[in-house]
C-alpha cells in the first residue's frame, strides 16, 4: 500500500476518550478478550478498567506488589495476567475478578528489579528476568520453578516466538539472544548494540522491548540509538530483524538525538510497526512504519512522552499511554503540596475496518 492508502486506513484518530490516572504508569495493555485495559505502574499496583460500556469504568486494582511494577503479560487461554515488581516479586492475577487476589505469587522470584516477563504461547510457562542476570521459567499455573540459568548481562526484555520454539531476551548491552528453553542454551545472538553505549562512565540504553509480528517472521526491538547519560538523550529507535536470518531489515530512527527512548512497539496484523517514544515537548512520540518502507507513514508530534502502545484485538483500537511529569528543577508546590507525576491513556482508533483474523 502507498502512504496515502495506509494513512486512509491507519492514521490513529482520537476517540474522545482518555483514561487519567493519578500516578505514573509503565504500560497499559488491552486484554486478549478486548474487554479490559490493564496497566502497571510506579505505585506497586496493577490497575484495571472495564471497556464494555459507553464509559470507561475503573475497577479495583490488583494489590500486593511492593514497588514498581514495570512488566506484565497475559497468560494465553486464561483470564489471568502475570506481573512483576522491582523488589523481585512475581504475581499472577485473575484479572476478571471483582477484587483480584494473587492466584499465586513468589516474593523472592528474583533478587531485585524484574525488568521483563513473557508467557509461552501455550500459556504453560512464564519466563522472567531482570537486573540479577538470571533467566527463570515458572509454571504459569501454580508458580512452580521449572528451570533457571544465568544470563550474560542485565535482562531488559523478553518474549516468546509465536510458535513457542524460542525464548528471546534483550539485554543492557544491546544483545538479543535466541534461547532454546529445553537446553537453556543460546542458539544465536542478534546484534542490536546500536541501542547501547558506555557514555563516559555510565552504561546507557539497552533493548527495552521485544515483540514479534503475528507470523513470527519479524522481530522488533525498541530503545534508543547512541544513548547518552545525563538527560538520557539519543534517537528513539526501533530495529526490525528477519527472524529467519537474524539480519536487520529496518532501523526505524525517529526524532532527534536529544529525544529519548522508544519504550514500546507492536506489530499491526497489516504488517506495520506502531511505536511510541519519550521526547521533549513538541517532538514525535508515536509513529507507524512498514518495515519495507524507508520512512514512517505516520508520525505524530502532538503527544509527548509516550510510554506504551497497545493494539486492541479488533485491530482498530489503540491505547497510547503517556507520562505527564514535566522536568523541573527545584521546588514546585501547588497549594503547598509537592506534586508528583501522573499518567494519561489516550484511546485512539484507526478509521479503517476491523482486522479480519481469518
Amino acid at each position: 500500500m502507498d502512504e496515502t492508502t495506509l494513512l486512509a486506513q491507519y492514521e490513529p484518530k482520537p476517540t474522545g476518550k482518555v483514561v487519567d490516572y493519578e500516578r505514573q504508569l509503565f504500560q497499559a495493555r488491552f486484554s486478549p478478550c478486548g474487554n479490559f485495559l490493564i496497566a502497571s505502574g510506579y505505585d506497586a499496583t496493577v490497575q484495571r478498567w472495564d471497556l464494555r460500556g459507553d464509559e470507561v469504568k475503573r475497577l479495583n486494582p490488583c494489590l500486593g506488589h511492593h514497588a514498581w511494577v514495570e512488566c506484565l503479560s497475559f497468560i494465553s487461554g486464561t483470564e489471568r495476567i502475570v506481573s512483576a515488581d522491582s523488589w523481585g516479586q512475581i504475581a499472577v492475577w485473575q484479572y476478571t475478578d471483582e477484587t483480584p487476589a494473587p492466584v499465586w505469587k513468589n516474593e523472592s522470584a528474583h533478587d531485585g528489579w524484574i525488568r521483563a516477563v513473557a508467557v509461552s504461547p501455550d500459556g504453560q510457562w512464564i519466563a522472567s528476568g531482570g537486573n540479577d542476570r538470571i533467566l527463570r521459567i515458572w509454571s504459569a499455573t501454580d508458580g512452580t520453578p521449572h528451570k533457571e540459568w544465568s544470563h550474560p548481562d542485565k535482562i531488559f526484555s523478553l518474549c516468546f516466538h509465536p510458535d513457542g520454539s524460542s525464548l528471546v531476551s534483550g539485554d543492557l548491552k544491546g544483545v538479543i539472544r535466541d534461547w532454546d528453553v529445553g537446553t537453556a542454551t543460546v542458539r544465536r545472538e542478534i546484534d542490536a548494540r546500536v541501542l547501547y553505549q558506555l557514555d563516559k562512565i555510565q552504561e546507557c540504553g539497552g533493548v527495552r522491548h521485544l515483540t514479534f509480528d503475528y507470523e513470527g517472521k519479524q522481530l522488533a526491538c525498541a530503545g534508543q540509538k547512541t544513548p547518552g547519560g545525563g538527560f538520557s538523550t539519543g534517537f528513539p529507535c526501533v530495529l526490525v530483524f528477519s527472524w529467519e536470518s537474524g539480519q536487520q531489515i529496518r532501523e526505524m530512527q525517529m526524532g532527534n538525538n536529544d529525544d529519548g527512548f522508544a519504550y514500546d512497539a507492536v506489530f499491526h496484523p497489516a504488517g506495520f510497526v506502531m511505536a511510541t517514544s519519550c521526547a521533549f515537548p513538541g517532538k514525535g512520540s508515536v509513529w507507524c512504519w512498514t518495515p519495507a518502507d524507508e520512512k514512517a507513514f505516520y508520525d505524530s508530534k502532538s503527544i509527548s512522552n509516550g510510554r506504551s502502545i497497545s493494539l486492541h484485538p479488533d485491530g482498530r483500537r489503540i491505547a497510547l499511554l503517556v507520562s505527564q511529569s514535566a522536568n523541573a528543577n527545584g521546588r514546585k508546590l501547588v497549594d503547598g503540596v509537592y506534586q508528583g507525576g501522573s499518567a494519561r491513556i489516550h484511546l485512539l482508533e484507526f478509521p479503517g475496518p476491523k482486522w479480519d483474523a481469518a
Binding site: A67, G112, N131, Q339, G340
Partner: protein, 430 residues
Amino acid sequence: MGTNMSQRQLCKPWEHRYSRRQLLGTMAAGGLGLRSFLQPSVADELAKNDKQVLLIWLDGGMSQLESWDPKPNTEFGGPFRAIPTSVPGINVCELLQHTAKQMHHLAVLRSVCTQDNSHSAGVARINRGDPKNRGVEYPFLGSAVAKLLGPTSSGMPPYVWIKPYSGGFKASDAGFLGAKYGALALGDGKPPDNLLLNKSISAEENELRNELRQKFDERYAVGRRKEWTEANSYVYELAKKLMDRGDLFDESSFTDKDRERYGTHELGRHLLLARRTLETGVRFVKVNSYHWDSHGDNFNACDSLIRQFDQPFAALIEDLHDRSMLNNVLVIVMSEFGRTPKINSHVGRDHWPEAWSIAMAGAGIKRGVVVGKTNDQGTFVDGQPHDIGDLFHTWFKAMGVPQELMQYDNHGQPLPVAHDDCSPISELLA
C-alpha cells in the same frame, strides 16, 4: 592594575558586622598571616595538627533517594529496596551494598537544605560553604584547609585534586586567598606533564636552572602583589617535592587485590590513588567524578553510577580504618545538590537542594550515626534543616581548627572562615 582589582573585591562596610574582639584581633594582626596573631600555644597546637581531608565530589548531583536516604515503596521512592547496614536501625539504598557494611564508620546528615538548584551556582556555593556575600570570592574547601592548616609535616602539597580529564595547577579554587592556595590537579590521576627530570639533564644543571628561574621570579615580583607572584615560585617548589615522590603515580605498584577491591573504573582508580596520596601526607585530597546529573533514566543511571562509587568507597573506608588513618582523615561525600523526589517523564530526577544528604567519616566525626531526617515522602526536611555553612563549621571543628582561627585576614579585611549565621552540628561531632 592589581591594586584596583583588589580594592574592587573588598566589601562595603555595611555588608558585614564584627564583634569588637574580632576587630581588635584583626587590627593587631595588621595584615600579617593568620598564625602571626595567634597566641603561641594555639600556633604550636596548630603546627601539630596532622588532620587530613578527603573530599569526594560527585558532580551533577547524586540522588539521595537512591543512596543515603531511601524511601522504599513511597510515591517518590523509586524501584530500589532499602537494605540494613552494619548499624542496626540504619538502612541505605541497596545500591550501596558494600558501603552498608561500613556504616559503623560513617555519619550521614539527611537534613541538608541548601539554596541553589543550578549547577553553575550550586557547585561554587557548596564548595565555598555558601558564605555571606562580602564582595570577595571565597575559597573552595580545599584551599581553605590549605590556608588554615598548611602542608602536613610531609612537606607534600597541601591541596591535590584527582580528577578526570586535564590536570595542572588550578588557582581558581583559592579565591581571595591567592593562587598559591589553589589545587594541584592530577588529570586522570596522572602526574603533571614533564614532572620527572629529563635524563639528559644532570642534577647540577638542574640546580643551575632553578637558580636562574629564581632570579627571574624575583625580578618579576618587583612591583607586584605578593599573593600573585608567590604562586609562580610555589608551583615549582611543589613540583620539586612531587619529583621526589614519583612513586606516587606508579600504578603498577598497586596489588591485584587492591585493583579488585576498588575496581578498575575511573572512580575506583582515583580513590585508590587518593588513598596513596593521603598516605604520602597530602593535607587535602579532592576526588571528582563527573556526569551524575541524571535528568533522564535516573534509575538505570544510578544502578550504573552509584555502584561505581559504592565499591571503592567502601574499600577506602575499610582501608583507612585498617591502617589507623581514619582518626586523622576526614572523609566527605557530597555534590552541589540532591535530586528531585518527583520522577519526570524521562524517568529522571532533576535538581533538588531542598532536602538531601551528605555523608562523612573519620577525624572528629561521630561514627555510625544518621543525623536529621526528611519527611515520609522524602520531599522536605522534617525538623531542623542544615545548610552547607553548618557543615563547614562542623568540619573545621572536626579538623581541630581552633575558634581563634576561624577568621581570614584579607589585607586587613576580616572575613569569617565559615558562614557567621551557621554553627557546628554537634550531633555529628565525636
